[in-house]
């Protein structure tokens, strides 16, 4: 996980990396929640371009973060999901809750508008 805070837009880009499954999600969830709770950002962009594998545990993790961030009145944008991950996100209905963008720039433009 790498982070980039875009102060001008109060947006935090969270770059997720590697394989996301029930095992790796445990540490990832903890790290993300810590950052989500202490940042000044209001828009959270989850950049999935570095994800090489993801199963339903990843979907659960994204939904969980969506709930936490919504509770804090923040919003979530998913960017750079591969075709396969896009399919999983649609299957689970995450795409109905969360905005999805193909590029980081598009996500940042949305952050500005929102």
């Amino acid at each position: 996980m790498r982070l980039k805070l875009i102060n001008s837009k109060r947006a935090l880009i969270i770059y997720l990396e590697g394989e996301i499954d029930h095992h790796s999600v445990i540490a990832l969830r903890e790290n993300m929640d810590k950052e989500i709770k202490r940042t000044t950002a209001r828009t959270f962009i989850l950049d999935l371009s570095g994800i090489t594998f993801m199963d339903s545990s990843g979907i659960g993790m994204i939904m969980g973060r969506y709930k936490l961030i919504s509770m804090m009145n923040g919003s979530v944008i998913i960017s750079c999901a591969s075709d396969r991950i896009g399919k999983l996100l649609r299957m689970s209905g995450v795409d109905k809750l969360v905005k999805m963008c193909e590029t980081e720039d598009a996500a940042l433009n949305m952050a500005e508008e929102g």
């Binding site: 499954d21 594998f53 199963d55 339903s56 545990s57 659960g60 993790m61 396969r84």
Partner: protein, 140 residues
């Protein structure tokens, strides 16, 4: 039968990755596309994760994975001797999860069915669960 392996794996969450790597290595000799490999890996990951967290409820146990290939059909059977499933039809319903308090989505079986050609579940309460999946390689 063209080829066959049987793998016994400890029910540790870091072995989810190992199991799907083994299934992918087995499938390689059927000359699958990268997409087909990824679909197999995802389905195996769902079934093995279920054995670990639902079957054994994170206690120690052995997950068994058998892979067989016959012509261009790959069959993968994943079994545990854990707590079993009482109502299989309900368990397989999209979005049903027996662990609503955790971040489970209830989509494991749906994903297996989407990515594989057939998914069959046998289970008996207190005795364990066997999930048998098949996939024809080279159709898309």
């Amino acid at each position: 039968m063209d080829n066959y392996i049987k793998v016994e794996i400890m029910s540790r969450s870091d072995n989810e990755r190992l199991s799907r790597s083994i299934a992918a290595a087995f499938a390689l000799s059927s000359d699958p596309t990268l997409e087909e490999i990824n679909e197999i890996k995802t389905a195996v990951s769902e079934a093995v994760t279920n054995a670990i967290i639902h079957g054994y409820e994170d206690s120690e146990g052995i997950v068994c994975m058998e892979c067989a290939s016959c012509a261009n059909v790959i069959t993968i059977k994943i079994s545990d001797t854990g707590k079993g499933i009482e109502n299989i039809d309900q368990a397989m319903e999209p979005l049903y999860t027996g662990k609503p308090d955790s971040e489970r989505t209830g989509l494991g079986f749906t994903i297996m069915q989407t990515f594989m050609d057939s998914v069959e579940v046998q289970s008996k309460k207190g005795e364990g669960t066997t999930v048998t999946m098949t996939k024809k390689i080279g159709t898309n």
